[in-house]
């Protein structure tokens, strides 16, 4: 390919220009092509690294049970019915419903409660604002383990343990990470827009709703996506609060139970179930990629 490109460069420039520079241009071009090939080879190597686990998971998901235990890599025969069997072996629909229920309600709660807090921290002037923000950041350092035991005591007195209440109700009281992310974004909205609205006599609620929320839609989308994903993936929360109430298992917890109830692991079904579990979030990511990547960048670079 490189030689071909070089030859083409030679014939294209024939005639008009002196010989020496023409050969140099051809060489430079050939060098560039070789360099590009080298660069893409390195990049493709990492494509293989990152993609191969998916490939093997998929291949195993359509194997028979015996074959999944053998060292054969290619399924023979392809047993697509594994995906259907996942739904009959465990209450997969119930787990899915629970996961969506938790993720949607908690996301709504976090967004509704975090936007005003972030607005007050980013765009209103009041004494103690900086100190409050530092306290808020400090709670990011607080391990969940410190609060979980007393919360367990309180929630079990309220008979909330074994229900979704401990997972959903606290979400309506703001989430520190989301507040932080929204505040960072709100800070980038020009002060003049807010001031102009104030001069026009808009109330703070109106400014937040009509100016900030409108302009910060991508950031709010990102926060909602992060929260949804967090809940979708959350294992510790549902594990502790379900307290072995199998009716409120989410997919995360249900998937590990799937291993245990069959004594040893039925790997072909386990891989099929894992694939079904990861598929929605991967599709979500492919559709909302821009919001994701901007959100991730915002946490790191502006932090």
């Amino acid at each position: 390919m490189a030689a071909h490109a070089g030859a083409k460069a030679l014939t294209a420039g024939a005639g008009s220009r002196p010989r020496e520079p023409r050969r140099k241009a051809g060489e430079a071009r050939r060098k560039n092509v070789l360099l590009a090939i080298a660069k893409h080879s390195v990049a493709l190597f990492f494509v293989v690294v990152f993609v191969s686990p998916f490939v093997f998971v998929l291949l195993t998901a359509v194997m028979t049970q015996q074959q999944a235990l053998s060292s054969r890599l290619w399924p023979h025969p392809f047993q697509w019915s594994n995906f259907a069997e996942v739904f009959t072996k465990v209450p997969f629909w119930l787990y899915t419903y629970n996961t969506v229920f938790y993720a949607v309600l908690a996301t709504v709660g976090v967004v509704l409660s975090s936007v005003p807090v972030a607005y007050a921290l980013a765009r209103m002037r009041w004494r103690g604002r900086q100190a409050t923000f530092l306290v808020l950041l400090a709670t990011l350092m607080l391990p969940a383990q410190v609060t979980i035991v007393p919360l367990y005591v309180v929630f079990s007195r309220l008979h909330w343990v074994g229900s979704f209440k401990p997972l959903i109700i606290p979400a309506f009281f703001g989430d520190v990470f989301s507040i932080f992310l929204l505040r960072q974004f709100f800070m980038t909205i020009p002060e003049e827009l807010v001031d102009a609205a104030r001069v026009d006599g808009a109330s703070e609620v109106q400014i937040m709703w009509h100016v900030i929320v409108k302009l910060a839609k991508p950031a709010i989308m990102a926060v909602a996506l992060f929260q949804f994903l967090y809940c979708w993936n959350d294992f510790f929360g549902p594990l502790v609060w379900s307290a072995s109430n199998t009716h409120m298992y989410t997919l995360s917890v249900g998937l590990t139970q799937f291993t245990a109830t069959h004594g040893g692991t039925v790997w072909n079904l386990q891989m099929a179930a894992s694939l079904l579990f990861m598929l929605p979030v991967i599709v979500l990511f492919l559709f909302a990629q821009k919001a994701f990547i901007e959100g991730v960048t915002l946490t790191g670079v502006k932090g």
Partner: protein
């Protein structure tokens, strides 16, 4: 003007006071969700767990004051506490640097090709989207005996370690798992790498700097704030490491009762968070679990402070970086 100032001030001051009172009312209204949540779900539980840490408590009877006995037991009579602390130190001291180096490496690979960068970025990022439980189960299988990695290594006559079945290899297995999901860290590094002004490299080229010199004296200092950020987050999360270890031990152990598998094999994956969970929610030693939680909190704070202190010596902030 002058008369204004002499005659109206009382009225005006009252107006301003009313306005500022209204202003503060609005501020507190906006803040109220978080403030209430902070009091109910952070401050109260923190104080309660501090109290529990000085008691024996199992939820069946009232907490019983025992002074420092939980702490004494932890430090002097509980070898598993030290095992869990050592395992956690391992996953932080080895896992976090390895992950940061790998993230930088992959991000640098992403800066290479001019065309197709978006495609490569998407592919490298997707594993980070896979739910932790699914990814962990997949890796236990992929690295398992007779699994795909074992088979592929067999083609080139290399014998694969037993990974999650072998106490010496279970933690490296978990590090591999974290490298697969390196996406988020990688994206942050990629943004930082693309932010490095091209003139710096051009100037270095004129001076005849080697690739390594450019990396060492331009790239590294310019991305050091992101390294710092990744290190802080890595340490904070590392101390709370839970899901991967819990699921891997359960799947590799392979018996019905997952709780009895915690730490499998041979306590090599008994991390601090796992042991705390076991004490609190398998044995209901709530007093002891609370004491462990407070020690964890103090350790995290100390490590974060040390990192922040040290950052003065190695983190380079460009003008305008907050």
């Amino acid at each position: 003007m002058v008369t204004d100032r002499l005659t109206v001030p009382a009225e005006r001051r009252a107006l301003r006071r009313r306005r500022s009172r209204r202003h503060y009312l609005t501020v507190s209204m906006f803040l109220s969700p978080w403030v209430l949540g902070f009091l109910m779900f952070v401050i109260y539980p923190m104080l309660a767990s501090l109290y529990f840490s000085f008691t024996h408590y199992d939820m069946l009877s009232q907490p019983q004051w025992v002074g420092l006995s939980n702490y004494r037991f932890m430090f002097f009579n509980d070898p598993l506490f030290w095992t869990s602390l050592r395992n956690t130190a391992w996953i932080i001291a080895i896992g976090v640097p390895v992950q940061i180096v790998f993230a930088i490496l992959v991000a640098m690979v992403l800066t290479l090709p001019k065309r197709g960068r978006g495609f490569y970025r998407t592919v490298y990022f997707v594993p980070a989207m896979v739910p932790t439980v699914a990814a962990t189960l997949a890796f236990v299988f992929l690295l398992g005996k007779g699994g795909p990695l074992d088979t592929v290594l067999g083609f080139v006559h290399v014998s694969s370690p037993l990974w999650f079945q072998d106490p010496a290899w279970s933690k490296p297995g978990l590090v591999l798992l974290s490298l697969w999901g390196v996406g988020e860290t990688m994206i942050i590094f990629l943004a930082a790498l693309l932010d490095v002004p091209a003139q710096l490299y051009e100037a270095a080229d004129i001076e005849g700097a080697s690739a390594w010199q450019k990396f060492r004296h331009i790239t590294l200092p310019m991305i050091s704030p992101v390294i710092f950020f990744a290190a802080v987050i890595g340490v904070i999360y590392g101390f709370q490491y839970f899901t991967e270890a819990y699921v891997a031990a359960g799947a590799a152990g392979g018996t019905r009762d997952i709780a009895s598998n915690l730490g499998y094999p041979l306590n090599s994956t008994l991390f601090y968070g796992i042991y705390l969970y076991q004490q609190g929610f398998a044995y209901f030693h709530l007093g002891y679990a609370s004491a462990m939680a407070w020690i964890l909190f103090l350790i995290i704070m100390a490590c974060t402070l040390v990192l922040i202190r040290s950052s003065k010596h190695w983190v380079f902030y460009q003008g305008g970086f907050k």
